[in-house]
Amino acid sequence: MIFGRHSVLKRGCSTWDAQLVPQAEFQARLEVMRKLMAQLNLDALVIYGDNYSFADLTYLTNYFPKVRGGIAVVPAAGAISLLLNIGSRDVPFAKTLTWVEDVRASNQVGADAAKLLKEKGLDRARLGLVDSGQGFPLPQLEEMKSALSRVTWENVHSLFQPIRLQKRPCEIAAMSAAGRLLKEVCDGAAAFIKPGRKEYEIVADIDRLARDKGAEDIRILAGEKRLNPPSFKQAGSVGSHWAVYLAVQHERYWAEAGRTYITAQDATLENVYARAQEVVAAMAKQLKPHRTMDAIDDIARRELGEFYAAASMYGIANGIGLNQWEAPFLNEDDARQVGALSVGATRLDENMTVALRVTIATEGKIVLFGDSFQVTAGGAKSLLDS
């Protein structure tokens, strides 16, 4: 599966566009979640999120941690609380990113979570723990649980997975906005990628283009022989081509693309790149309701032949949304690599959103093409062209 280097701070444009994703949307999501909680006889949920894995926390609250993690406490009835590992002076800013009114600062989330749960009368309750990103720091988790000896804990890490599979209209709108931003970045990047330029200089140009357009976060992997994260050690100069994986987060939602920029006349490279695009197009034809994820894999195997094994290391298809990688996954191995407990769904349905990517490694060079799509009744719709 593809991974970019995770940044220490989500430092891009940090706002809540309440016209794009209004508060009523979160109330609707909360109602759905509370029905699920009732079915499981849960008195409350404790949802962990951090700046690496924030999807479930964000889905209900719109808040996304900028540095360190935090929890949302979602009782079966009554107000949600956010307990965040931030300074108390950071609370007013945190409140601009969420509709939740009760936002608290903590530098010991485990211990303070226990206090908060006691305050809400949940110290003898049946609580669901949601940590789908497996990020709750172990000492903090132990501290919280040990202070609540009468609580019955249920691990419900996958609770959100089914309801986040099919995107709601405003999620599609947010992802389309991310896709349009990404398309502008992909188009603009061509001007920066010139033979002889240092890789990190080009990364700086692409990064700025995305940030100037209001991206919340950016992931870049690039190279001629393999995909590398930005590093001062990757100070080589661009030669005949440059393969780039780009993911942009905007208003919490991700879109990703892969492009190869060929800088010299090289018929072989151009043919390989055209082939990568053809394979993605063939896979995208499977993006229709009721088709199976296996069908995408079958197409990739058939079309890529001997190149399939190398391509599959980077992942060929996965869901995308509040996470760069989320259900549906192509197979259990892909899911496990990102910490998901299952593939999520084996069949596609309308308004699922899927990233497809093909890497072809040949003669010591790598070529990449990829795109993000919405599954519609009429077939795949690129989020970059929406």
């Binding site: 220490v8 430092r11 690496y52 540095v67 300074g87 940590d131 709750f136 700086a204 290391m313």
Partner: protein, 352 residues
């Protein structure tokens, strides 16, 4: 390891890079992982093995680190039952519960938390790290200059932040704990919003480029246009506090001495209550990925400042008349005292 009776060390990293925490795998290998599972297995009397995901990143690990034996993470699972003797674990704090329980089960023992071995080893930077930190400091200074050169009314906050980021990435910075915000009365530092900057805005920044996994931080304040006299007057308190903090940072002194010196400057100026939450808490801190020593500069931190420690001293302060103002330098402890790694002036920068 011998001193602690350990036959094997397991050093873990989760790919969740945090500039307030040490990246133990990077410290030992000079490789910064991107995937969620990385473990360096260090036998007492044999070569280390680096296990990581994703598998496509193995060639980069082989190129960037000195460890020659790099393998897919799933091979770690089959190796575990064969690990004998007393085992130490470093990086448990960032480990997820299932992996920890799997390790305990496979080892048939609870590994000793051995993080102090590396925390102690790493607390004073050596020449290799200082070379990178000095380069990062030059880049940080360049980021500040770019902001001075290009900031103007009409830009959005996130565009101001992008100016700094662009300059620093162009010079090789890999990451940045960067917050640049603008307002005529800033409440606090935070990631950039879409607010349009106005004439008279005070721009504050906490700029933290990373080179080779090591961060330096610089904090500065600038104003778009001539500020009211009160801004210069109150900023002078920060300037004074910065000097007092630097003077207090003597080798062998406790970290608390720096915090006390800085707080003293604000107490003398009548701002005692503003030295406590919700306004302020720490007067600087270590910078992670490398060692976070000496920790947070607070009045109860008795950690002795040692030659080679690097950390930021920042008398950043919210003041009711001006809002939040920032000033700070990353310093290195020499044989006798703290020396700044930065060259940018401490003066408030006025952009005409």
């Amino acid at each position: 390891m011998r001193d602690n009776g350990l036959q094997t060390l397991l050093v873990h990293d989760s790919g969740r890079h945090n500039f307030l925490r040490m990246n133990y795998v990077a410290y030992l290998t000079d490789f910064i992982s991107v995937g969620p599972e990385t473990i360096l297995l260090v036998p007492l009397d044999d070569q280390p093995v680096l296990y990581l995901s994703p598998v496509w990143d193995i060639p980069r690990a082989q190129q960037e680190s000195w460890v020659s034996d790099v393998r897919p993470f799933k091979e770690f699972r089959s190796r575990l039952p064969n690990v004998m003797g007393k085992v130490g674990l470093i990086g448990r704090e960032a480990m997820y519960v299932d992996l920890y329980e799997e390790i305990v089960k496979s080892l048939k023992q609870i590994p000793v938390n051995a993080k102090d071995i590396l925390e102690t080893m790493a607390r004073c930077k050596g020449p290799f790290e200082l070379e990178r930190l000095r380069r990062a400091a030059e880049i940080a200074d360049a980021g500040v200059k770019a902001l001075h050169d290009d900031a103007r009314p009409g830009l959005k906050e996130f565009e101001l932040a992008a100016i700094v980021e662009y300059r620093m990435r162009s010079l090789g910075a890999e990451d940045n704990f960067g917050m640049v915000v603008a307002n005529n009365h800033n409440q606090a530092l935070h990631p950039a919003t879409d607010r349009l900057t106005q004439p008279g805005d005070i721009i504050i920044g906490e700029i933290t480029p990373c080179i080779g996994g090591l961060f330096v931080q610089i904090c500065r304040t600038m104003v778009l246009g001539e500020p009211p006299a009160v801004v210069r007057e109150k900023y002078a308190i920060l300037h004074n506090a910065m000097g007092l903090g630097m003077d207090a940072a003597q080798t062998g002194a406790p970290a608390s001495a720096v915090a006390k010196a800085i707080n003293g400057a604000f107490v003398d100026a009548g701002y005692e209550k503003y030295c406590r939450p919700p306004f302020m808490r720490v007067r600087g801190h270590g910078l992670g990925c490398g060692s976070f020593a000496p920790g947070s500069l607070e009045e109860d931190n008795q950690t002795k400042l040692e030659e080679g420690m690097t950390f930021i001293i920042h008398p950043n302060q919210y003041l009711p008349e001006t809002g939040y103002l920032t000033l700070g330098d990353t310093v290195v402890m020499t044989k006798t005292r703290a020396e700044s790694l930065m060259r940018s002036s401490w003066d408030i920068y006025i952009k005409e």
